[in-house]
């Protein structure tokens, strides 16, 4: 008899349907307002913290729904937002600085489900509210810093080797020019440099008789870029943790960009302040010898440069950097016994050794803390109106703002720990400490994209999305039943299962569901019936051609198959291109569209066949309800 389902088809369909429904279920539980507690700066939580938190809450008669701890988090569920807010304030003051507390929405699905990866869909920021930043890392600055280090290294090596030079300078294009005084020593200099500086290469074509043109090897530049990006990512991650955000995302994008996503953040001004502050700190010695003369003449001798304090006073600093913010392990703001704000700094061992040597040699001299920030400005002409480029866009330039925060006198040999005095106010000291603690950036960053969605709009987007999906589904269902009767019912069963499977796959992959993603689902609802329409029309045709009902079902499914596969693969090509090209929201659309195409092939071809066979298979049928 025709149209009986083989056992293995039943098996596949049953398994897929069961697994699909299981992984879609967590989405039905909803979520509670909650608090997530993590150790600050990646510290782990101690085992008795859970008891402490419980005690604090019950001592203050705060009702909570549940309290649980896993490896890195403590999660507390509440009934309402008011208790959640109250508890956070309370816990913050009781637990102190070593923990980071964040308000969040915690999924309500039972723990055993989450343990095997059955989680609700991961909602994008346009649905849950929050802010998305794209930061551009200024690689030139990171490279330029290494070039300057190399210049210092070359100078001291040549001095040691008694090769005299006129000047050694870093050019703007990243090359170094070493002008050797005696042309006969040029070869020797070049050999020494090649021996001692593996990261450098000498450009013989560009070099002339006296001067060597030296540049960083391309491999080294790649290394610098990678290291700078990675360090920035870590530093940004630490800064984000200081903001108290649940489930923040900090990830690399492309060769020189970093994405930061902060769900639920309301006031982006502070977030921008903390993240975007592309501050790096560098310690440089004051060139005491030439300072007075240089200020007089407004001209700096080689090896030094004039800098300004915030109030405009100038000071001559050596170009050589002693150590930078990267070497700072900890920093805290406080008041000294005179009531003046201070920042206490702890260095890593490398910097501690250097610090101890340099300060030992320079007691009585000053050491300056230089604050560096990169800002992007639009070029203006003399009247202050913007200069436009060929495309009519305003021309931009990035400008480095350098400022001497303070230049305290070294009173004694310093080591691992020391204090900076002479900071304007306690607030300034606090900000400075936070920036130092959170980790300096290896290279300045600039926010080049921001997308913020307020929580009310996020909820509205979810509501409208759900409404559109349901309304679209109902319309298509009504239409299909009217048009295909029993077969219409089959199609809409397949369509409903398709929706469940899309939700299930999205939950399983924890792919981000965005608003365009929801639109993709709605579109899939319309397009997914296509496969069924193709099959059903073919069955009708076969009936018209005089085939028996059973044979028509068989031929209909058989002949429509290759058409369906061809049509879907080409749509999939478009979806994949979309996925590769797209950023954030567009990617979301491509993801749901691709998943929808794949699941719809399963439901329309395999699943609907099993149902049709269940209804008509294995018996004599006079006519089909199609």
């Amino acid at each position: 008899m025709l149209n009986q389902t083989e056992w293995w088809r039943y098996l596949i369909v049953t398994v897929v349907v069961a697994v699909g429904i299981f992984y879609a279920v967590p989405n039905l539980f909803g979520s509670d307002p909650g608090i997530q507690i993590r150790g600050a700066r990646g510290l782990s939580l101690d085992s008795n913290l859970l008891g402490r938190v419980e005690a604090i809450l019950s001592n203050n008669e705060i009702a909570f729904k549940s309290l649980s701890q896993d490896e890195n988090n403590i999660k507390i569920h509440f009934d309402e937002t008011a208790t959640q807010l109250k508890s956070k304030k309370l816990l913050e003051s009781e637990l102190g600085n070593s923990y980071s507390l964040a308000l969040t929405l915690l999924p309500n699905a039972p723990d055993w489900m989450s343990d095997i990866g059955a989680l609700p869909m991961y909602l994008g920021l346009d649905l849950r509210g929050g802010v998305h930043f794209l930061l551009q890392v200024d690689m030139d600055s990171a490279i330029q810093r290494q070039v300057q280090n190399a210049v210092d290294g070359i100078r001291s090596t040549l001095r040691e080797e008694r090769i005299r030079y006129r000047r050694i300078v870093a050019n703007e294009d990243g090359t170094i020019l070493a002008d050797i005084r005696n042309p006969e020593q040029r070869k020797e200099a070049s050999d020494i440099l090649e021996r001692d500086f593996l990261e450098l290469q000498i450009d013989n074509a560009a070099s002339n008789e006296a001067a060597l043109v030296i540049s960083l090897r391309p491999e080294r530049i790649d290394e610098i870029r990678e290291a700078a990006l990675e360090q920035n990512r870590v530093a940004l991650r630490n800064r984000v943790d200081q903001l108290g955000v649940a489930e923040p995302i900090v990830q690399q994008q492309g060769a020189d960009r970093i994405i930061v996503q902060l769900p639920g953040v309301q006031d982006t001004a502070r977030a921008k302040e903390i993240l975007g502050r592309a501050a790096t700190l560098e310690m440089r010695m004051v060139d005491e010898e030439n300072n007075a003369a240089a200020l007089e003449a407004s001209q700096s001798p080689p090896g030094s440069r004039l800098y300004r304090f915030r109030d405009g006073r100038r000071i001559l600093l050596e170009k050589r950097v002693i150590y930078s913010g990267d070497n700072i392990i900890d920093a805290a703001a406080s008041l000294d016994h005179n009531g003046g704000p201070i920042v206490s700094i702890t260095l890593d061992s490398t910097a501690a050794t250097i610090n101890s040597r340099i300060t030992g040699e320079n007691i009585g001299n000053r050491m300056a803390v230089v604050y560096q920030e990169i800002v992007s400005r639009i070029r203006t002409d003399d009247d202050g109106s913007p200069i436009l480029n060929d495309q009519g866009l305003p021309e931009r330039m990035t400008e480095r703002v350098e400022e001497v925060l303070t230049a305290p006198v070294i009173r004694a040999q310093l080591g691992k720990r020391y204090q900076i005095e002479g900071i304007g106010s306690i607030n300034e000291a606090r900000d400075l400490a936070l920036m130092l603690r959170a980790g300096a950036l290896a290279a300045p960053v600039e926010i080049i994209e921001e997308r913020t969605v307020g929580p009310s709009l996020g909820q509205a987007n979810i509501d409208q999305g759900v409404l559109s999906v349901i309304a679209g589904l109902i319309l298509v269902m009504v239409f299909m039943i009217v048009y295909y009767r029993i077969f219409g019912v089959v199609a809409l069963t397949a369509l409903s299962l398709n929706l469940v499977l899309i939700v299930s796959v999205l939950s399983l992959l924890q792919a981000t569901l965005t608003l365009p993603g929801v639109a993709g689902i709605v579109l899939t609802v319309g397009m997914a019936v296509d496969a069924n329409v193709l099959i059903f029309e073919r069955i009708r045709e076969e009936i018209r051609n005089g085939n028996t009902p059973q044979a028509s079902i068989h031929l209909g499914y058989d002949r429509a198959l290759s058409t369906i596969v061809d049509a879907n693969i080409t749509t999939l090509i478009a979806a994949l291109v979309l996925f590769n090209f797209g950023t954030g929201p567009i990617k979301g659309f491509a993801v749901t569209l691709s998943i929808g195409i794949l699941t719809s092939m399963f439901t329309a071809i395999l699943f609907s066949r099993v149902i049709v066979n269940g209804i008509y298979g294995g018996k004599i049928v006079k006519r089909l309800s199609i």
Binding site: R377, E449, L523, G526, L534, N568, I573
Partner: protein
């Protein structure tokens, strides 16, 4: 219920001259719009700042604009968004805040708009509303920031380039697949139909000066996928008919294929249009442009799979012999 009791026998290919005139007209209008009016690019492509603000009651656009301009934001463009309580403030990428950084403009906009209500946002992490301090008490802000988008100019340029490339790659990928599965004339026919659809969809956006944003571009790519789906179904049938209808001539074979697939073509367009219309009416203001692009695209795509793809294949001179080797290949490649 059935649209047609029997397989129809319309002479679609006989109308190819009329179709060419219609398509030609639409394309000329589209290209002229693109050239003379240009696309109204959204900030995704131009760079700039956009702030959507929710008021407690209906608000006058002029009021908000005067307030912004009076506070140093001369370039602000203000319009209602969806409801009279919502406004959208746009600032070109050329606008600067005092410190020269454009990224802080959005905060400045909110600050200025909150002035008449005498409220200031406080740093709060409440997950449901924004809280303000007003007259010494803390309460929900009366003016709520709904959405901020800031796109730096470098991003805009990149997106525009990548977007163009994405369309090209999609077309190329499809060209290769269809050539492999069918025959080069089918591939060219499909691509001509696709370019036809893309040009007219994008042209409509230029003609009506609707905002062309990133989601709209995504919709255009989805249209490519959809329209192709339609075309492939017809092509597939043409190939099958070449195999079966040994005695008929090419025009008859192709006409027959279009007629055989006609109910399916119309039906799928109908269900897809149904959901697009729900998206358009219920999906909210943010994805309106996206839905509209889909609407145009699906309409044009349906038309082109019937009246553009097949005539192109015919004009390229398809013959039965062309289908023979591919027939074998097609069969063995069938899963």
């Amino acid at each position: 219920m059935q649209l047609f009791r029997k397989i129809t026998a319309f002479d679609f290919l006989g109308w190819r001259k009329t179709a060419m005139i219609i398509s030609g007209f639409l394309i000329v209008v589209s290209i002229a719009s693109l050239v003379f009016r240009g696309l109204n690019f959204g900030i995704d492509f131009t760079g700039g700042t956009l702030v959507e603000v929710g008021y407690p009651d209906a608000v006058e656009v002029e009021e908000a604009r005067d307030l912004l301009i009076g506070n140093g934001l001369e370039d602000a463009v203000v319009q209602h968004f969806g409801t009279p309580q919502d406004i959208l403030v746009r600032l070109p990428s050329i606008a600067l805040s005092e410190d020269g950084g454009a990224v802080k403009l959005s905060s400045r906009v909110m600050e200025v708009l909150r002035q008449p209500y005498d409220e200031t946002l406080i740093d709060t992490s409440s997950l449901s509303t924004q809280q303000c301090v007003s007259g010494g008490t803390v309460s929900d802000c009366r003016i709520q920031m709904r959405r901020v988008e800031f796109v730096g100019p470098q991003i805009g340029d990149e997106l525009a380039n990548q977007g163009g490339l994405a369309v090209l790659y999609a077309l190329l990928g499809i060209l290769i697949y269809v050539t492999f599965r069918f025959e080069w004339r089918f591939a060219v026919g499909s691509i001509v139909a696709l370019i036809h659809d893309v040009v007219i969809t994008v042209g409509m956006f230029a003609l009506l000066q609707l905002e062309f944003s990133l989601p709209v571009l995504a919709a255009v790519l989805a249209v490519i996928g959809y329209s192709l789906n339609d075309t492939i179904v017809v092509c597939d049938r043409i190939r099958e008919n070449f195999r079966k209808m040994r005695k008929s001539d090419v025009i008859e074979i192709m006409n027959r294929a279009i007629n055989q697939t006609l109910p399916r073509t119309l039906l799928t367009s109908l269900t897809t249009l149904l959901v697009i219309i729900t998206l358009l009416t219920l999906g909210g203001e943010v994805i309106r442009g996206f839905s509209f692009a889909l609407l145009i695209g699906v309409l044009i795509g349906t038309y082109s799979s019937i009246f553009v793809a097949s005539p192109t294949i015919l004009v390229l001179g398809i013959k039965r012999e062309d289908m023979l080797p591919v027939q074998k290949e097609g069969k063995s490649a069938e899963p």
